[in-house]
Symmetry: C2
Subunit: 368 residues, 2 copies
């Protein structure tokens, strides 16, 4: 088992990574049942287990068994990004109220990023904020969405437009759950791993070039290393800039393009991680066209994405439609778009200062 | 004009109190248009003015005139506590999204506590938090709900169960707006003023005994003093305990009983401030029966409430129903209720340690 610490002052929390964690009653006792105590609160007996129709039959029983004697009410949501809505968060509120859960109750998010985002947002707003613990069961959630405290839901007008910053009390990432993950979702998670390396860690990128097949084969040692490194990189950035006023925007590498693809496809096309994969290839092209990065580095980015089974273009999406979608994206401030670009592998930075023709060429190259 | 400062580190903000503030373009320029700049952000041209059907025709035009050249989209909500719902906050999100407002947009809450709570909650959640400014137009909002950063909505199962802590960038309390306030609402606001005195300021309570008729006659000097003192007391408590982990619970003096009355009446009976007035009389009786406070002090509390035209009992509400409503109230932790009691006027404290028969006697005395 690996143990990381996210340093956020009074909101600091541990991330545990390893096989079999969902069955470890000792860890649940220390990090879940006493999560509020570590934060200066009182121990609780009241848990709300938020999960979905796919994950519940696979893993909910392990959670129940690891918290013996506690009251655990389960909320089973429909599975899929299209269900990440305020209406579903409202249904979580209804269950919390109906069971008269008080401020000392704790929400457990068992599932992927969609479950984590909704359960975390419900915890952020119920009685103006109660504890929650992330139990991520997808690679994407283990490396990305369960770290950093972003919670929320989509709006018909855009992704993640409604939400809150609310840090979990702990994250327990059981790598055994990745055995049942569909291969498309595994690849989508690897896109976020590649993103972390591209932001600030060239040696990790080289390690991925060496071990990508081991990750796809779900070799436990390779998965454990990739998750730990990704969480370390993300946790470090979040610790520097919890509320995204500066450095944290680096984590959006590939996301401005990725979100645009998802929006135009109305969240029924590529998975989020797949769209981010394509977005990374686009950010690389943009960086080359802006004269920032060597074409040889961009070729390495594309080659790794292809080996991971990820898309590097969006030929069913019109460039003009993607541009329009980007403008409503939340990274836009006062009309000028901001992008994360690269001066090389592991050397990303945020800017609103770029040549317009480099953006146009990128849209031309990767979109319809 | 009076100027207070709420000290909350990076979330500190000014409260301005006085006549004619809504017409002061110079103050809007300094404290509203540049609110985000003071907090290290960029100036914005995008404002969302949230108000209601009663207040809009009276005061919205003054706000428009005081922010010349800016884009101000107006959301006019229905008036009344029964409309403080997640559905109405969702309609605010829809307008923000439809107008493509970005993170630098600023929400203006023009109205009473209901408008402020909903507009503030929408600002807390839109893009995970944008700026907002309170422009309270009722005495209750000027002395209480616009200070302290509590935002949120009611749930059919209880009041204020869904919400967030989100501090305004500034509060501009124009005392001229109190001229159009219905007398019942004026009295409801005075209940919160009396509460502030009872918590920790016996001399202010004595001033109220001396000047209650001047307040009811809306004498500007008396109103200005009462609002400033109340905001000072509340701001001081909030600065000590922003997230209500300790001292801030003092502000719930009278509220456990008051919320119970409102819940049993399904928010269609007493106004919030009226219910708090009755709750203050109940807290006084409770404190006397618990052997904490002299009956003479409780008599002073009741006498001032009566002179203010506030209720001191709830004879249409069954004591058993009120007790049941209190248990679901958010102040309950792990089954044991907490109350704010008094050792005397201006000497309040929070406790879960009280004689059960004192509670029973209080219910018997003040309820059906």
């Amino acid at each position: 088992m690996q143990h990381l610490h996210v340093e956020l002052g009074a909101r600091s929390y541990p991330i545990l990574i390893g096989p079999g964690l969902l069955g470890r009653a000792d860890l649940f006792e220390e990090y879940v049942a006493r999560a509020s105590v570590l934060a200066g609160g009182r121990p609780t007996n009241d848990f709300l287990l938020v999960t979905n129709t796919t994950v519940s039959p696979l893993y909910a029983e392990r959670v129940h068994a690891s918290l013996p004697g506690r009251r655990i009410v389960e909320v089973v949501l429909p599975d899929g990004e299209q269900h990440k809505t305020l209406a579903n968060v409202s249904s979580i509120f209804d269950v919390l109220v109906a069971n008269r859960y008080a401020r000392d109750a704790c929400v457990l998010a068992l599932g992927g990023g969609v479950v984590g985002d909704m359960a975390g947002f419900a915890a952020a707003c119920y009685q103006r904020g109660i504890d929650f613990v992330q139990l991520p069961t997808t690679l994407l959630a283990q490396v990305d969405s369960s770290v950093g405290g972003k919670t929320g839901v989509n709006h018909p007008g855009g992704k993640n437009l409604i939400g809150a910053f609310h840090q979990p009390r702990a994250v327990l990432a059981d790598t055994d759950t990745l055995a049942t993950l569909p291969v498309r979702e595994l690849r989508a998670g690897i896109a976020e791993v590649i993103k972390c390396a591209l932001i600030e860690d060239e040696p990790f990128f080289a390690w991925l070039e060496d071990r990508i097949e081991a990750l796809l084969a779900r070799e436990p040692e390779a998965l454990g290393h990739a998750i730990r490194k990704s969480c370390e990189i993300k946790a470090g950035i979040v610790a520097r800039d919890e509320r995204e006023s500066g450095d944290r925007a680096l984590l959006n590498l590939g996301h401005t393009f990725g979100h645009a693809i998802e929006a135009v496809q109305q969240y029924r096309g590529l998975l989020h991680g797949e769209a981010v994969g394509a977005g990374l290839a686009m950010a690389a092209t943009f960086s080359v066209r802006a004269g920032l990065m060597d074409e040889a580095d961009a070729a390495r980015v594309r080659a790794l994405l292809v080996r991971a089974g990820l898309p590097i273009e969006a030929q069913d999406v019109a460039g003009a439609a993607a541009l329009e979608a980007m403008r409503i994206d939340k990274k836009v401030q006062s009309g000028r778009m901001r992008f994360v670009l690269m001066r090389g592998i592991g050397r990303s930075f945020v800017t609103a200062d770029y040549p317009e023709d480099a953006l146009a060429a990128t849209l031309e190259t990767h979109f319809a």
